[in-house]
């Protein structure tokens, strides 16, 4: 397996490496390894497999293909092409589902309004149906593809749907309960429903993130933190301890000064603590380092 690395280096000797070429070389490395595995599984010995795999690829031609200047198009044409490519196309199935669900929502809402006075149980059931259909509408909409194939995960879309459904059912039924106010029971239930929905929406909104999407994961994979604390966790831990020491000292001085001299001057202790804190932070995070353990 080490043969392909050597042969690959040989094939790229004398070539001025650009980021694109480096990228190509790494891609070839992975593909060569796979080809060598295939050849070896058919009984070829390691050295022959490596040389066969490398010679099958016309590496000089690949390099030449990359170096040839790409065709330049006008920015306007490129933008128009990108717009055409990334247009989100409506999906007939979704449009039909959304239309039907909207009609059902309307029917449920009408029944909640008309039935609640005469038959409270039926009114409540219609309110539940109303919430369920709203939940379906929201979840189904959120599940739709965006321009790239990074749709929201089904479970998360469902949670958004349920939270919206709770809120919609709570608010809708609450309105009817106020209108035909006979007892406080239905109103309390509606308030609880709406509150649960709001809490769910807040929780989902706060935790909404891009970090699980493939491109975010790829970016995180390639990200190399450039500050000292990311490279040297021990320094970060040390800084944490210094911070605690600085603030305990500053607070102690503040309390002592407040008791002995009074508030007129004691606040200076806190300002002093802040100054020392930032000095230590700048010295530790951004100071030039000599032979830090992070560098090779």
């Amino acid at each position: 397996m080490s043969d392909i690395h050597r042969l690959l280096d040989e094939a790229f000797t004398g070539v001025a490496m650009t980021p694109d070429l480096q990228d190509l070389k790494e891609e070839l490395r992975g593909n060569l390894a796979a080809r060598v595995d295939e050849l070896q599984s058919r009984g070829t010995d390691a050295a022959t497999a490596a040389s066969t795999a490398v010679s099958e690829l016309d590496i000089p031609e690949l390099i030449a293909g990359l170096e040839s200047a790409p065709t330049v198009t006008s920015p306007g044409a490129a933008a128009a092409a990108a717009m055409r490519l990334h247009r989100v196309r409506p999906k007939p199935g979704f449009v039909v589902r959304a239309s039907i669900a909207s009609v059902v929502v309307l029917v449920c809402a009408l029944h909640v309004v008309t039935d609640s006075a005469s038959n409270p149980v039926a009114g409540q059931l219609w309110a539940v149906g109303f919430g369920l259909v709203i939940a379906f509408l929201v979840a189904d909409s959120l599940r739709q593809e965006t321009a790239q194939r990074y749709a929201m995960p089904t479970v998360r879309a469902l949670r958004w749907g349920i939270a919206s459904g709770l809120l919609a059912a709570g608010v809708g039924y609450g309105g009817v309960a106020v209108w035909h106010l006979t007892s406080t029971g239905p109103l309390a239930a509606a308030v609880i429903l709406a509150l649960a929905g709001i809490m769910g929406l807040i929780a989902l909104g706060v935790t909404q993130t891009n970090r699980m999407k493939p491109w975010a994961l790829a970016q995180a994979h390639q990200y190399m933190a450039d500050d000292r604390f990311s490279r040297d966790p021990a320094a970060a831990a040390r800084f944490g301890m210094y911070t605690v020491i600085i603030w305990i000292a500053a607070l102690t001085v503040f309390v002592v000064l407040s008791i002995t001299i009074g508030f007129a001057w004691s606040w200076l202790a806190l300002v002093g603590g802040l100054l020392v804190f930032f000095l230590v932070l700048s010295r530790m995070l951004f100071a030039p380092e000599k032979g830090s353990p992070g560098t090779k």
Binding site: I4, G30, N31, L32, L62, L85, V88, A147
Partner: protein
């Protein structure tokens, strides 16, 4: 059916050149088709195409790499690095929605063209 001439039914060597010329024009669509089901890396795509034709047709790898770059540039395919720890890291390709749309359109275009060519190649004296 046997009376229906297929493109390149001439001498063996010229038919090879004819067929690969014709196929080369569809490399983009073929690669998009291979990526429809699942993300794959370069050699896997090459192997899939090679094995699917029983080794009859091999896309030149230089052509394939140029195709990957073009598809990525046009936004039909996205590339990302896998997280293999040993051997080489693999560069995977994933088809985008735009890529799927282009694939569908190209297949439709091909089907239509194929029909026309078949008709034209089958024109008989009486039909003139």
């Amino acid at each position: 059916m046997s009376t229906e001439p297929t493109p390149g039914s001439g001498a063996a060597e010229s038919s090879d050149a004819f067929a690969s010329d014709l196929l080369r024009g569809h490399t983009d669509t073929i690669v998009l088709g291979v990526l429809r089901g699942t993300d794959r890396y370069g050699f896997e795509i090459y192997k899939t195409i090679r094995d699917a034709t029983g080794g009859q047709y091999e896309i030149k790898e230089a052509t394939l790499y140029a195709t990957f770059r073009r598809l990525v540039k046009d936004g039909l395919v996205e590339a990302y690095w896998g997280d293999e720890t040993q051997g080489g890291r693999r560069k995977y390709y994933r088809i985008t929605d735009a890529g799927r749309a282009v694939y569908k359109q190209n297949v439709l275009d091909w089907t239509a063209t194929q029909k026309i060519i078949n008709t034209l190649l089958n024109l008989k004296e009486a039909e003139r």
